[in-house]
Amino acid sequence: MLYFSKLKIICIYSLIIFLSYFTILNFLSPNYKFSNKKINLGLDLQGGSYLLLEVDSNPIVVQKIQNKFSNLKKYFKNQNIKFKNIKIENNQIQFELKDSSMDSFITDFSDKKDNLLNNYLDQYKAFEFDYKIDNNKVYINYSKFGIIEIKNSTIDQALEIVRRRIDEVGTNEPNILKRGNERILVELPGLDDPERIKNLLGKTANLSFRFITDQDSTDFGSEKMFFEDGSEEAIVSKRIILSGDNLIDAKPRMDNQTNQTVVSFSMDRLGTKKFAKATISGVGKRLAIILDNKIISAPVIREAITGGNGQISGNFTFQSATDLALLLRSGALPAPLSIIEERTVGPDLGKDSIDAGTIALIIGFILVNLFMLLRYRLFGLIADLTLVVNLFLLVGILTIFEATLTLPGIAGIILTVGMAVDANVLIFERIKEEIKVEKNNLIAFDGGYKRARTAVLDANITTLIAAAILFFFGSGPVKGFAITLGIGIISTLFSVFYFARHLTSIYVSKNKDKTITL
């Protein structure tokens, strides 16, 4: 165990130097670097916001069932199939068919090729809809995979919109990730006040322009809506003249005549045409501008607008106009998002945490080193040097992987300092016992290393298991703890079995014939 070939020694020290280089990179100013690798600071250390958003795809399912409902009716008409009592109940379409037409319906409904009525989803080998027949009654509802398909497409669209909105605000290196098929994780490092982004993400931003009618609200083609400030209500037509999809740009602007902040927008070709047509015939009527089912304003149309440009007035501050323009530019969310988890750390607390963590690390390191020095003298020095190398290896590995360091992660490093010496202690204690019965130092030391090895491995594997489980089940900062603890074990084993053993072997071979006391 004490013999090292030249090649092995070169390998050991090259690896140590290589990893130490990456450790040192973290402390150099950016200009000196040959590599940009650096440990990332977690949100709890640099300050920032962590938001977990959940997409509610239920409204989309309701809407799609509604569409399917009309499609089915059309299909029956085209095929001359008589149907009875068709209705939607609990997101399920029900109707009755005669026996004679049942078979042809089922054949059409369960056709795997180009089925417009019931899409066959190749990737899941399943249909979009399931059907159930009870006597003459047919029940149709979304299959498990149909729902998954909706959720997947909804989350992808939502992710895109969320990304656009956050990019528009222009924060530092945001991290936006999909979590499963109904959640989006947003990390915004360095953001002091997440309120604005939360506000922007919380809005669906469904914009529509519709006429205000005087008709009774019980009328089928219109509905009652409130103004944004809650002051008034109005009856608006359900017919949408122009929606947010037709806008190509939007900007906040000062209106020269009224000195008010407005949002000006321009429309695409189709939108321009539709808007022109509606405003030509609608001069004198009030046009309601509706955002997320609330009326922003409802100006009277004075003249036809045919140029494809318009503006939205309302009770805007410059900030709220900027935000509305941003929302219109980045598009509407397919479904409402809600923030189900938020963790925000201010930058000053982050800095305090770094300071406290660093001080605790330094003090813990000094205490442990002093303890080992007092206990083992020269071998304590070996253990202390091993600990230094261990830390360089640990930080070096973290840097190569550009791992994220969190406050619990720093705690993991400090804990590693405390527990890492255990390996050397186990070995030294064993050598002590061996020396008592074996006069030859070389044999005694060799035996010590050999016999202590299983105990050292056992001791470290148990901690490694705990760290691995924590890594898979932990979230955020706690994951950072699992990472440093786990990598700490690997660096400990390497530093003890290669670096410390090499130092020890040099010492023993020089003092072969002396009495060594530990």
């Binding site: 925000t344 201010g346 305090d352 605790a360 406050l407 705690a411 804990l415 705990a466």
Partner: protein, 300 residues
């Protein structure tokens, strides 16, 4: 220093310490079941705000009153770290109001009339907190199972049983302490418990390793003698390792900032009980199960 040439008759104290441990476990379980645990927002859902007030004249009662006026449900205000720092917890999450935190800031400024700074805001909805709690429990159970499997592979069943009972002892007493002292259980406490599981196992395994070695070495000695000898032989290592680990943990506890207090406190308890249990819980079980030379020779 600490050059222990020990020959302490540990086996003589097994009975008394086992009784003490049993009492501690009963008290812990009693407290966990009757008093319950003080779950933080991670597991209970709700909102946590760490607040720093610039003006030192503000009293904690004023902060509490300002929050109580806002109808946020059950509000808990306490001092946290430095003067002027408070930790406020309440049940209510934002529901659908995206300006929730902003509104609280406005109202707080009106009520107290001083400058303040939200240093940290955590807001966990009921669905997420339920999931986090479940994941935490699964992680603890899984770590115990993983340890059981590991030690089963490495040792004979008597040893596995001893080590696992020692683990349960440590975990129950640590959580029991948190229940009795009403300390908050959050995500970092789960991390601490898992690390304790690893540490306690590690300590037990080192002694068991020696027990097995000695059983093979001294073919005529009985298990209680072997156990005693093995504990004494490894005692120096046990003390040094727990000392350095405790030094590191104490340093986190005293200097690492208020956020890490719960974590380091749990770990300190865990290391103390883990060290204690590997001597006074795991070993008596070997004796109770009448482990002898045959039990370890069979598998070789």
């Amino acid at each position: 220093m600490l050059n222990l040439k020990s020959d302490i008759p540990f086996t003589n104290y097994f009975r008394i310490f086992n009784i003490i441990s049993l009492i501690l476990i009963l008290i812990s379980l009693g407290s966990i079941f009757y008093k319950g645990l003080n779950f933080g927002v991670d597991f209970k859902g709700g909102t946590l705000i760490e607040l720093r007030v610039d003006n030192n004249e503000i009293r904690i009662s004023e902060v509490r009153e300002a929050f109580l006026k806002m109808n946020l449900g059950d509000v808990n205000v306490k001092k946290f770290g430095k003067e002027g720092d408070y930790l406020i917890k309440f049940e209510k999450t934002k529901s659908n109001d995206e300006n929730f935190i902003e509104n609280i800031k406005d109202k707080l400024f009106k009520n107290m009339g001083v400058n303040f700074n939200f240093r940290r805001v955590e807001n966990v909805g009921p669905k997420v907190s339920g999931e986090l709690l479940r994941a935490g429990l699964i992680a603890i159970v899984l770590s115990l199972v993983a340890m059981l499997i590991y030690i089963w592979i490495r040792f004979e069943w008597q040893f596995s049983l001893g080590a696992i009972i020692a683990l349960f002892h440590d975990v129950i007493i640590t959580i029991g302490f948190f229940s009795i002292l009403e300390f908050e259980i959050n995500l970092s406490i789960i991390a601490a418990v898992l690390t304790i599981v690893g540490y306690s196992m590690n300590d037990t395994v080192v002694i068991f390793d020696r027990v097995r070695e000695n059983l093979k070495k001294y073919t005529s000695k009985k298990i209680d003698e072997i156990s005693n000898l093995s504990i004494n032989e490894t005692l120096s290592r046990t003390i040094i390792t727990s000392s350095t680990t405790l030094l590191a943990l104490l340093s986190i506890f005293f200097f690492g900032g208020t956020i890490l207090h719960g974590f380091s406190f749990a770990m300190i308890l865990g290391v103390i009980f883990g060290t204690y249990s590997s001597i006074f819980i795991a070993n008596p079980i070997l004796i109770k199960l009448k482990v002898n030379q045959k039990s370890v020779l069979k598998e070789d």
